[in-house]
Chain length 504, copies 2
């Protein structure tokens, strides 16, 4: 009878002995009527105290796995389990991949996860993520509110919330929506764990395998991933300076009969482009004409740096065709994971159904905290603050891009949002650029990421300017452009390998 | 030109005018070259200040929707959008149900949502939910920890977390698991938004439409809902006093070739039954023999009131066949929405992938708060406290059931967990019982809810004893048993309608 004692384990020794004997009995290694070694000799063999073995045997007896008779010793009792027991050598590890669904086996792409990991590294200057500036977090205000809530809300703070969300927060969100010219009552709002969850729910509500979804090209890669994993064919509609090309859209509508159109009309990710007012109406009219739902994603609309943007499609839609997603993740911080959806009642009912099914409701304290933050007018103040800071950072990046400009690079000045969508020289060697910039401690997102077919965009990169401060922006762009210059022709590049100055 | 002014709206009047004219232009009601009424006359017509109209016209001009020439007045400019514009009368509301997937159209069942709503009503005595006693929430301790975290963690508190969870919390959970005799390193743990999300992810990872899943019968209705909505055939395995009938299981394994087995081995929901040690090994051996994953759900294991339960299947599994779900929702509170999964690395990678895809990560402050709560030893103290309180409430309910016993009712004493699974007289008229008890302000969950085929269990009800205090339990059971007595034969029942004493 082979027993291994691990003296560093948390499990007490007598329990280790008991468990291993128990396993041997149930796995058939110790059949019924087996005589267990006398306590004294087992104790000697294992170099433990005799009382330890006695305790182990007592435990086994309590589970009626063994019985002991004076003189006869401790005997294993019979267990029906023996019948189905297999020797370990016959037991194979599960071939898990055979059990996974196809889309799960396909989906290995953890871009967002990787970005968040990268972004954490100290010394790395990250233009890759879509993360707010942490130095602007209103920590002191939140602390005050939170402390008060412990008194005023007390236990309510940890109770379950309604599936659709904490009602006062829905009121506050309805108030925010009115400022975006969207008329939505609190009942027209369902609180979600970030707008990301809204994309996932929309996919689960609408997409049957083989359905087509139209998206801007380029667009948010998370949306492409989610729609694909739900079994959709994702087709891109090209954009220009006025946003989605509605002329091309109509042709695609007719050809592909899509399930819905996904769009980021304002300060689009990654292009930074905003859809013109005319295009917004054209898009709506096409939706009306071809009877198509529009899924509008608006995480950046409040972050304008020059003039206020055109109203969201939801504000212009007079016939309930638009499902509107938004979030606090880009204006405040990611960590609370709170976003929302607003749309027609029949659709909201389905969002609520999925919320109940998948995770019941959004974290209650986060909902209380945000509600108070908005109610007390701090949200509006905060938005004004981040607008100033982010436009300054945008300008700093534009200035740096000019200063270190490499021939062949191009970009437009975004009027709001988070990103500069930078064009690279045509003769760039992209895989080398990532490595080259990485060596200098600068990360960014490659353009292909944002294209459904992944073949285009290889001369584009997305640069985020909200997460890094102006000094980091200055340094980061300098190193990035050095990397670009060195990666535009192979010779320069070999030349360069010698004089790379790593940041860290 | 018909414009309606709403003087109570948040939108300023000039913007209301501008928006309505804009809509008329884009929807083709005001074609190009239309002459807008002079500011003065429009102001008169709308009973607004002339400057208001001027401001509105200026806005329209800024959007280059109109142009104005001295003498000529304000003229609508041409817009390509007119081409696709439709008169409102031609625009139909979307037939949304045609766009929803079949499972979404089917899934209207919001039991959990309804329970949470009911449970909120004051005056109602609810034995329906699965909610912890709010008077035990360690609010003061949490307040202290939270306040400290604002200083120590500061901004970290609102930053994004890793997809797999905040590492220190994964360490704390790994520590809790060792106490359950499960050896899992922090890396073997992925933090989720409640174990509910774990069920949803498992469904998405494993279930192809038409797959079969085996569950205990009765079992947690949420699991039935989720597996069904993923397209699974859900087949029940009967249970007895030792838990899942492994003899029946083997026959079902052979017949249905299920994708996995879902089980609540300890203090099962709703039956309160715990699987015997022998059955646990039999189940594992069957899984090994037939190469089947086991999804183990263990929300109640720590809540034992007499003797510690047998180890989880995960602790007995030596070959990585068990995926283990647990949560803080039953031991602490629901509101934070934090649970976790532990399993083989290949499977955890898929859970992480879905987490990243669907909602990025669990609310960061909640993860910090729970980690500190566990690290400082408060969690263990808290568990001891709730064990005492819940066993007292269980005994109170058992006592009340004895006191007001109706012939034909039966129940077993649960050794842990949340529920008493009460048998009703065979001649009960169930739909009348719900109404009858409801009139007295007592709610519970009907037995059918817990059966995959929904036909059985109509003489059972699930009674939760953790949410209500002993006094409410006493009163609630009294009224409930009155309702039962009156609903066992039609005559008694008509008789009773007169002397119903509503609680509220």
């Amino acid at each position: 009878m082979r027993i291994i004692i691990n003296r560093n384990a948390d499990t007490p020794v007598y329990l280790q002995i008991k468990n291993q004997v128990r396993d041997m009995i149930f796995s058939g290694i110790l059949p019924a009527d087996t005589l267990l070694p006398p306590e004294r000799s087992l104790a000697k063999e294992l170099e433990v105290n005799r009382s330890t073995v006695i305790k182990a045997y007592q435990e086994l007896k309590a589970d009626s796995l063994v019985d002991s008779h004076v003189g006869k010793g401790t005997v294993v009792l019979s267990h029906t389990v023996k019948k189905t027991a297999l020797p370990d050598s016959y037991i194979n590890p599960l071939p898990w991949y055979q059990f996974f669904t196809d889309s799960i086996n396909a989906g290995t792409d953890n871009i967002i996860g990787d970005i968040m990991a990268m972004t954490g590294d100290s010394g790395v200057i990250s233009f890759a993520g879509g993360i707010p500036a942490s130095n602007l977090y209103p920590v002191e205000i939140l602390k005050t509110i939170q402390t008060e809530l412990f008194t005023t809300a007390n236990r309510e703070l940890f109770l379950h919330s309604p599936v659709e969300g904490y009602y006062p927060l829905r009121e506050s969100i309805s108030h925010l929506l009115r400022q975006r010219q969207i008329a939505a009552s609190p009942k027209d709002v369902v609180v979600l764990s970030g707008s990301q969850q809204g994309l996932d729910f929309a996919a689960r509500i609408f997409i049957r395998t083989g359905d087509t979804v139209l998206v801007e090209e380029p667009t948010f890669f998370g949306a492409i991933q989610i729609f694909r994993s739900a079994g959709a064919r994702v087709i891109g509609v090209p954009i220009d300076q006025e946003g989605m090309r509605t002329d091309v859209l109509e042709a695609l509508l007719i050809r592909h009969k899509p399930k819905f159109i996904y769009t980021l009309p304002t300060f689009q990710n990654p292009s930074g482009v905003s859809m013109s007012l005319e295009r917004r109406y054209q898009l709506l009219n096409l939706a009306y004409q071809y009877q198509l739902p529009i899924l509008e994603d608006d995480p950046y609309g409040e972050l304008y740096y020059d003039r206020p943007p055109y109203p969201p499609l939801k504000a212009l839609d007079r016939h309930g065709y638009v499902i509107y997603l938004s979030t606090f993740s880009k204006t405040l911080f990611l960590g609370l994971r709170v976003g929302w959806v607003s749309g027609p009642p029949q659709v909201l009912a389905k969002f609520a159904h999925l919320k109940q099914l998948t995770d019941l409701h959004v974290n209650t304290p986060a909902q209380f905290l945000l509600d108070e933050f908005i109610r007390r007018g701090y949200y509006e103040k905060h938005i004004t603050l981040v607008r100033q800071e982010y436009s300054a950072r945008r300008d700093a990046m534009l200035k740096a891009l000019e200063k270190y400009k490499v021939p062949g690079t191009k970009w437009d000045k975004p009027e709001g949002g988070y990103y500069i969508w930078c064009r690279l020289p045509d003769n760039i060697i992209r895989h080398k650029l990532v490595a080259n910039a990485g060596n200098r401690g600068v990360v960014f997102l490659p353009g292909e990421t944002f294209y459904p077919d992944g073949t285009q965009g290889d001369t584009r990169i997305r640069l985020n300017y909200t997460f890094t401060n102006q000094e980091q922006i200055q340094t980061g762009i300098k190193y990035l452009m050095q990397a670009v210059r060195e990666t535009t022709s192979l010779d320069d590049n070999q030349e360069s390998e010698r004089n790379i100055k790593p940041l860290v």
